[in-house]
Symmetry: C2
Subunit: 325 residues, 2 copies
């Protein structure tokens, strides 16, 4: 009745941006990510007879409120598929994802939680089923079940049974690196969830965004297969710009970018002009992630750290999927 799992976060190269079902967490487009070795969560789940409710400790701190409710509701979902509907769990998670790095720790968090919980309950479950389950805790977490390059297929069924992630290429296929550029000021006024919803409901650009995905996805998968860094980088960068464009058309409009976000974007473009292949991508926040190749690591890291307003640069290689400890 006890299990420990480790899962890494992932960075989307083709963004998940828009839900068609808020409850089941079903997206309006396929997305594609790279699992990152440097950022992960380990979670131990113990089901115990003597508990009258779930408990959740994050980095040894007891968690209550909304963050606890999300975890407990997710446990309910798993319990409902077993006989253990009256059995409660102690959940202990350790996040090795600096909060300020602007990675959704919910991706590695829910992947590790789903894996540890199903293992503790001795459920026999395929990776595909685990991904489908994880998706209902946090959308992008469904990609963290796998290592390397991963595609989340949106699916078309209303019950979400065909909406889960699959591995496109394992981490060993290609050593692409990611630098997480942490800004000094990481405040964001609009949450990802709220931003996504407002954009879907009000932006005149949302249909243009959705319609452009299949082409981006086809090209980037070919680029990954061919290890064509220029192609992969250019598509990832353009896709991120399109995602952020949609927010500028929302009502009221908003942007996740700060002045330093622009400064980092421009430094990346300057690096390319100097012959260093580097490309940026940006999630729903001000921080920037930069894709580069191993040979350029020192140069890229230094150039990024030299930008005023950059607080830290944390590099990572691609990582594995869920493992059990």
């Amino acid at each position: 009745m006890k299990a420990t799992a480790k899962a890494h976060t992932n960075i989307a190269l083709i963004k998940y941006w828009g839900k068609r079902d808020e409850t089941l967490i079903l997206p309006t487009n396929n997305s594609l990510s790279l699992t990152l070795d440097g950022f992960y969560t380990t979670t131990t789940v113990t089901f115990r007879d003597d508990l009258s409710s779930d408990t959740f400790f994050l980095n040894d701190q007891a968690i209550t409120g909304e963050q606890f409710n999300r975890v407990s509701t997710f446990l309910d979902l798993i319990r409902s598929e077993t006989q253990a509907t009256n059995l409660y769990a102690e959940v202990r998670s350790t996040n090795h994802v600096p909060t300020a790095a602007g990675f959704a720790s919910s991706a590695s968090g829910f992947a590790a939680l789903a894996a540890a919980t199903t293992r503790a309950l001795d459920l026999s479950i395929s990776d595909q089923d685990l991904s489908r389950l994880t998706r209902q805790g946090s959308g992008s977490a469904c990609r963290s079940i796998y290592g390397g390059f991963v595609e989340w297929r949106q699916g078309t069924k209303p019950d979400g049974s065909d909406s889960f992630a699959v591995q496109v290429q394992p981490a060993e296929h290609w050593d692409v690196r990611v630098a997480a550029v942490v800004l000094s000021d990481t405040m964001k006024k609009v949450s990802s969830r709220e931003g996504m919803k407002r954009t879907v409901n009000t932006s005149p650009f949302f249909s243009g965004w959705v319609n452009s995905i299949p082409y981006d996805l086809e090209l980037i998968k070919q680029g990954i297969k061919d290890r064509d860094f220029e192609k992969v980088g250019n598509i990832a960068e353009a896709n991120c710009l399109k995602m952020h464009a949609t927010t500028l058309g929302a009502n009221p409009p908003f942007t996740y970018w700060h002045a330093t976000t622009l400064a980092v974007m421009q430094e990346v473009q300057t690096m390319r002009e100097r012959g260093i292949p580097a490309f940026f991508t940006i999630d729903a926040g001000p921080n920037v992630k930069v894709l580069y190749l191993p040979k350029d690591e020192a140069t890229v890291k230094k150039a990024l750290l030299d930008i005023p307003g950059v607080h830290d640069v944390i590099v990572s290689r691609s990582g594995q999927g869920v493992t059990y400890l």
Copy 2:
């Protein structure tokens, strides 16, 4: 055979962004602007028997090359509608538009040129005809024929005969001010003309942009009529963000924004949170223009000048249409 005219530049609150005909300069949407008192061009045109070609002096410098060709081609257009097809002109212009301010001096320039040339040739021409003619020199210049708030109606005819500007409200209707925020680094890598063309041809957001205009236009005209600054400012700001969003979807993508552009945008939003009604708009370049009311002039100017990377702030009230000197 000699006349002098003065025309002011204008700032678009609903942007002109996209051509349906490159030669006749016919737009894909209606636009709306405020004519600005602080920035203008005076032009004297003298037709002389002893000239074997046109000459053009800008701020007392003889101009050749492409800039000269644009002026001479425009004179050809006017000459072709008269008997004076073999008569050449000396054109002397003085720009009171700081180039770095990021206003298209072509707006005041072509409006003054069209007015002085037609007057020098003694052509009897209505303001509407003058606007239609001016449009063929520089699109946004057709709005500078009039003072105050001006709408450029795109028209539908292939020959452009129904594409010209009309006055919505005169300058006296409402004292709205504009601060031109000049950045230290004003470089732009993509010209307005090229940016517009690339966006029309490749951005998945272009149709969303065009389709959103009629609603913006209806609301802003009502806001101008009612002197509702919140409404006018919010629509102008949102419209500018939509225009800039379209460039992020172009192939290859681009943006006119610099880091300081974002810093100015955020300072304007901060001013609003402090209760000062101020709104930004941005043309195809990194500089920002800020709309505000007369009572807030000192506060707004100081706040903008305090932003690192801001070189200068030049304020203006709304101005008159073309005048003859």
